[in-house]
């Protein structure tokens, strides 16, 4: 059995609040069977032995932990801004390491090749220098001043534009990105990726959005995001090794991969190694 390590004491999404029934949903968290259900209207989670696990209901999802989280679940302040539409995209199951799923979300260089003519297109493949830091006060990885040319940046975008991005890793398997919001210059659209680690090589991905998009139908917004993620899945299920290598040597990053490098470093520093591999000594 794999070690859950320091990741055990963190929060993970285990279902969409809206979809929760009294009968509940049987699922896995880090290899352990759990049940997510409603009792007296309240979301509940129990482990394989029937023990109640801690629960938070936030961002449209139910969160739990197998351990004892020292901190509250992170917040996304933008989620409370008036006028935003909160979109629960639903679940996408991917046969990959939960950490690889997050790393892919932090990556822009793949846009022209995996999301061709949507989030990127040749010859606009260059990734300009951006800034990355591990913010010690909040213990998060941040990438800022990220820019990329996109033919159709969002459902609401018409024609190509250069989109600004910021990325934030706020939990071992959760990331939030901020991107230029075509209908509302000066504001950021918020797209989050909440990843439920089922096992070290299998995850349920729950994208979630807080958008200033007044026109699009909710189902179109959901379909757009799902289509993007299905494209990502075709890559994620075909990376070798399946586990994310945390030590340098196995893979070759370049300057465009600075966010990934920082994410891996941060994971390693904290012993967040469920879904990762360390080079054998």
């Amino acid at each position: 059995m794999s070690e859950t390590g320091a990741m055990r004491d963190h929060w993970y999404p285990v279902g969409m609040t809206k979809q929760l029934t009294e009968a509940g949903r049987d699922t896995l968290l880090m290899g352990e069977p759990i049940r997510v259900f409603r009792d007296g209207g309240q979301p509940q989670v129990s482990d394989g032995a029937g023990r109640a696990l801690p629960v938070i209901d936030r961002f449209g999802h139910v969160w739990t932990s197998l351990g004892t989280p020292a901190k509250d679940l992170f917040t996304i302040p933008e989620a409370d801004q008036p006028g935003r539409r909160l979109v629960d995209v639903g679940v996408c199951r991917v046969r990959c390491s939960p950490l690889r799923a997050v790393e892919n979300f932090l990556d822009i260089a793949h846009f022209p090749f995996v999301h061709t003519d949507i989030l990127g297109s040749e010859p606009h493949t260059e990734v300009e220098r951006y800034e990355v830091e591990i913010r010690d006060d909040v213990d998060e990885v941040w990438a800022t001043k990220v820019k990329f040319f996109q033919p159709q940046a969002a459902k609401s975008a018409e024609g190509g534009i250069t989109t600004d991005y910021m990325y934030r890793v706020c939990a071992p398997t959760c990331s939030v990105l901020y991107k230029t919001c075509p209908p509302k210059p000066g504001e950021w659209d918020v797209i989050a990726l909440f990843v439920q680690p089922l096992t070290e090589t299998l995850c349920d991905v729950w994208p979630w959005m807080a958008l200033y998009d007044d026109d699009a139908e909710m189902t179109d917004l959901i379909h757009f995001q799902q289509m993007i993620f299905v494209q990502d899945r075709s890559v994620l299920e075909n990376q070798l090794p399946a586990l994310l290598p945390l030590d340098p040597g196995m893979e070759i990053p370049t300057r465009a991969d600075m966010t990934s490098i920082a994410y891996r470093r941060w994971l390693k520093r904290h012993g967040f190694t469920y879904g990762a591999q360390l080079v054998a000594a």
Partner: protein
């Protein structure tokens, strides 16, 4: 006639400017053909972030990875990193390459170049590849022979069967048919090959 080469695919199954996955013992291969027709077998793993190169795309004489478009040329050398168009990729960025040659319409692969070239089968031409869930010996036995190269009677014709051990209890069966078989005879051969596969696979589970 034992050979140090392993038959990995049929030439016709990898047309110009395409790539496909293959195996050589424990190694996963990306077998690909350049636009000008050159065949190559490389490790099926992009050095950048481990994506399978067999999912990649071919432009001209290069194989590019589908994830971030890194392009690889002669000898597996990385020649292009689209995120940094001005950069000349360091020489150290290289995909491990295997030997690959074509003979009798078959793509043969090896880790190190064997001394002898792969066998030729005059009068035969590559016909079809199948995957069979069985041990190599079981398949050879069902063809009435032994070893990895078997001449056998199948569907009313005499064929050459090349058996490629694969992982996970499977084998590749690469069939060579006599030249100048008619369409009806080839159809009969196909039907017989599939029946053989069923028979051998049922033998496995029985």
């Amino acid at each position: 006639m034992p050979t140090d080469w392993t038959p990995a695919a049929l030439s016709d199954d990898i047309p110009a400017a395409s790539a496909a996955p293959g195996q050589l013992g424990p190694h996963d291969l990306a077998i690909w053909r350049s636009a000008s027709g050159r065949i190559a077998a490389w490790a099926d793993r992009c050095p950048h972030r481990g994506m399978r190169l067999s999912h990649g795309y071919v432009r001209g004489e290069r194989l590019s990875c589908i994830y971030h478009g890194w392009g690889y040329g002669e000898g597996g050398q990385c020649v292009r990193i689209p995120a940094h168009p001005e950069l000349t990729p360091p020489e150290a960025i290289k995909v491990p390459v295997f030997r690959a040659v074509e003979a009798s319409g078959v793509i043969w692969v090896a880790v190190e170049a064997p001394e002898a070239p792969p066998p030729e089968f005059p009068g035969f031409e590559a016909f079809r590849s199948l995957q069979v869930k069985a041990a190599p010996e079981a398949l050879a036995g069902a063809l009435g022979g032994s070893g990895l190269v078997v001449e056998a009677a199948l569907g009313g014709a005499t064929v050459v069967a090349l058996i490629q051990p694969l992982r996970d209890g499977a084998v590749g069966l690469h069939l060579l048919a006599p030249e100048a078989l008619g369409a009806a005879e080839l159809d009969a051969l196909s039907v017989a090959a599939e029946a053989l596969r069923r028979r051998v696979e049922e033998g496995v589970t029985a």
